[in-house]
């Protein structure tokens, strides 16, 4: 590395000191850092629950914790990871930090609303933490009625309210991104010059704005039924329990794409930049994001093939579910083709990108078993489903998040992390992940249902394999916490563009100044232009 590189004297991190300058900041980059800290705490909490789950499942008897404790652990693992880690992770941290810089803007369209989003998210999180403090909740993250509304005697109400509140953070962030992408692009930054990261976030924002109100009203109805005894979902009070599933999945299936689409956007950046090559079929990759967002809304009932819906409804939803597989496949093929005749380097972010490709391919392909009616009847609610969605939501979304964090970390904090340890961690995550979740496909097909505290003996071998893998995976997730923190003070100075990457964010200093650009940039070229000297032409006006 170049020894003459210096951290700029004034940048967003040191422009203002003291707690208030952080807690009341309107700078999208500082808000991104607030989110980074908060989602990391939630990730750690959710991870602790996973440790408890895997410990319990090493023996068939259910002898580590009681059944009630186990049920609370997997519920909180799901609630925290889905609503408080995965949904905000990439958009609220990386999206917040990068969207304005990538399009040449000084901030998001509504900086105050951005800060408000953060606090709404935090308040929702406090509700869930208080539910844990009061003894937890045991309904599963899916809150199926009438168990959640009439039978469970745990803290369903604060948890549901926490999710209801946090939803508004998601809606406001989505709105902010949509307006920003429409209105704040620098001169010359046309739609087809946008980095694919932006396209992915645009698609995600649409889902957040359109889908989140549905989960909000659903959990509100659950709250009303539970707190005031209205009969909405509970058949004993004249309600319909299956209605809840329709409403829940109408949001929660698209929510899977809220979690994975940003990771797909990160992937396009990583693949293009670490092969120094234009993304193959830019417009196909861009529009496949929108296609996933649209199709994602019409496949929800594939979660309900055994819930008594009619044979013909099941067939329609099975057919539609395959439609969402195609744009995902198109993306994977385009990334693979991008590598052809590239100039590929295996820095840590690219190791994550390669890992992502493998895990996302397996996650996507195993979705076919569940979209196919004949096999889903057997696989529904077994560990096969658990393995499938972890391949997408952990293998996909978290690999994307970590890959992105390793890619943009030097931009965010101006310093490099340990290359050696980061490579070790990328490899541990990939290997540990497969050891943990691949056996679950097998144990699912031989029939082990999910959410089982104790299980018949013949499932033990595969569960022990899974728990052993989880310890490797856990180590892989812990390592970055250490070398990232270490890098903040001791890391090598990165300079504006340590990777030789292309994109406006690599034109500004690292860390960027509060206003991002001293002068508004004028964009004159396509994205992902790589020339041997300069990554990209930017005329400064």
């Amino acid at each position: 590395m170049d020894a003459t590189r210096k951290i700029p004297s004034l940048h967003y991190l040191n422009n203002g000191h003291g707690l208030a300058s952080w807690l009341l900041t309107k700078d999208h980059k500082r808000i991104a850092v607030l989110y980074l800290i908060t989602v990391s705490i939630f990730f750690f909490l959710g991870g602790l629950m996973a440790v408890g789950i895997r410990l319990e499942l090493t023996t068939p008897e259910g002898d580590f914790v009681t059944a009630d404790t186990y049920n609370k652990m997997f519920t909180l693992h799901g609630v925290i990871m889905v609503f408080f880690f995965l949904i905000p992770s990439i958009p609220a941290v990386l999206g917040n930090f990068l969207i304005p810089i990538m399009i040449g803007a000084k901030d998001l369209a509504f900086p105050k609303i951005n800060l408000l989003s953060y606090y709404i998210y935090a308040v929702g999180g406090i509700f869930v933490l208080s539910a844990i403090a009061m003894g937890g909740v045991d309904t599963g993250w899916t809150f199926y009625t009438p168990y959640s509304s009439a039978a469970s005697n745990t803290n369903v109400v604060p948890t549901a309210l926490g999710i209801f509140i946090t939803g508004f953070s998601s809606i406001l962030t989505g709105l902010n991104f949509i307006v920003t992408i429409h209105r704040m692009r620098a001169p010359g930054m046309t739609w087809f010059r946008l980095p694919l990261f932006i396209w992915a976030h645009y698609a995600v924002s649409l889902i957040q704005v359109l889908g989140t109100p549905v989960i909000a009203i659903t959990v509100l109805m659950l709250f009303v039924e539970r707190a005031f005894g209205f009969g909405i979902f509970d058949p004993a009070r004249g309600g319909d329990p299956v209605l809840f599933q329709h409403l829940f999945w109408f949001y929660s299936h698209p929510a899977v794409y809220i979690m994975i689409l940003p990771a797909l956007g990160v992937m396009s950046e990583l693949i293009a930049n670490f092969s120094r090559k234009k993304i193959f079929g830019y417009s196909f990759v861009a529009f496949s994001s929108l296609a996933i967002a649209v199709f994602g809304f019409i496949v929800w009932a594939h979660h309900m093939f055994v819930s008594g819906i009619s044979v013909y409804a099941a067939m329609v939803f099975s057919f539609l579910s395959f439609s969402v597989a195609i744009p995902s496949a198109v993306k994977v093929f385009n990334w693979t083709a991008t590598l052809y005749k590239g100039s590929i380097s295996f820095d840590t972010p690219m190791l994550y990108a390669y890992g992502f490709l493998g895990l996302f391919a397996i996650g996507g392909l195993t979705g076919l078993f569940l979209a196919t009616l004949g096999t889903d009847i057997h696989l529904h609610d077994t560990y096969f489903v658990v393995a499938h969605f972890h391949y997408i939501m952990v293998g996909g979304a978290i690999m994307g998040y970590l890959g992105g964090l390793h890619f943009w970390w030097p931009k965010m904090f101006g310093r490099m992390y340990s290359e050696f340890f980061s490579r070790i961690s990328a490899i541990l995550v990939f290997v540990g992940f497969n050891l943990t979740f691949f056996p679950q496909f097998v144990v699912g097909y031989i029939g082990m249902p999910r959410r089982y505290h104790a299980y018949p003996d013949e499932f033990q071998v595969l569960n022990v394999m899974s728990s052993a893998g989880a310890s490797v995976l856990g180590l892989g997730y812990l390592l970055p916490a250490f070398y990232f923190l270490y890098s903040l003070k001791k890391g090598e100075v990165a300079g504006p563009n340590p990777w030789g990457a292309s994109g406006l964010e690599w034109e500004v200093p690292s860390p960027p100044p509060t206003e991002n650009f001293a002068v508004t940039p004028r964009v004159t070229s396509e994205p992902y232009e790589f020339t041997p000297r300069v990554a990209r032409e930017v005329e400064l006006v």
Binding site: K278, V311, S318, L339, S343, A361, L365, G374
Partner: protein, 339 residues
Amino acid sequence: MSLFGIPIFPEQASSFAMDVDMLYFFIVAVSAFFSLLIAVLVIVFGIKFRRKRVNEVGARIEGNLPMELMWSVIPTVIAMVMFGWGASVFYHLRRAPDESMQIYAVGKQWMWKFQHLEGQREINELHVPMGRPIKITVTSEDVLHSLFFPAFRTKIDAIPGRYTELWFEATKPGTYHIFCAEYCGTNHSGMIGSVHVLEPAAYQSWLAGGSEGSLADRGGALFNQLACNTCHLDTGQGRGPSLNNIWGKPVELSDGSTVVVDEAYVRESILNSQAKVVRGFQPLMPTFQGLISEEGLVSLIEYIRSLSPASTPAATGAQGATGAQGAPPAGTTKPGMDR
């Protein structure tokens, strides 16, 4: 089936287990092919096009329309094959043959209760004959459950207030798991049991032991006990319509619409008697919501079905399904009133 002591494949014990497994292997093959294809390509490209100089850049390639079409169309075609094949297996799985033997299952926290037409009642155990299609009508008396037979490759949710059904034809004698697959609270993982598939002769001798009167008999007793018989006279001259020979037939309602008499209609008419009143009768019947257990309802349904001899499902054995013996079975709690 296991490999090096690791179980990798479940027992195949139903007539359609093989169909499901063939479909499964087809998708495994497709998935393995595409996973390997991607893996080989990215590894080969990663080695072959590895960066050689610090300032090296990749070739300028924008894209290629024929290739985009190829990798959109081929997966679409494969997906349509999966859809069609999957839908046909599913249709078969969901349509119980007409000659199926009827069993009722009620899920409750945290047990499975089974009732045979011949009167046997079991908890977390189910005895079935090999080689006969068996239809299980399922409901729940509290929260959602899901009746899952991994060895038969089928499951269905148990939904309170509603009847769902699944069927299978067991092909191999033995004992297999019954699981609850839908999370239902504290002891969800304890809501498991065993299904015993017996040779027909062994099943007959199992049936012969310990019957306490048929399910329809119990329904008949409950029918009298609840004084249904004071209004639903055989003659049709009572305050309620005669229940003879109505099963599976349409009846006209007071609002002019018609409804076919089936499990759901009988259940609704007992629990919410004013919902669909038969034309020509006054809405006088009291509602029995909360007064009859799920098992009691099932027995009433079977009793009413037995009053239509032509539509009685092919029950095993010669035991009468006509409710001839009206007395409640001795030595048990009153059927249907055990809440």
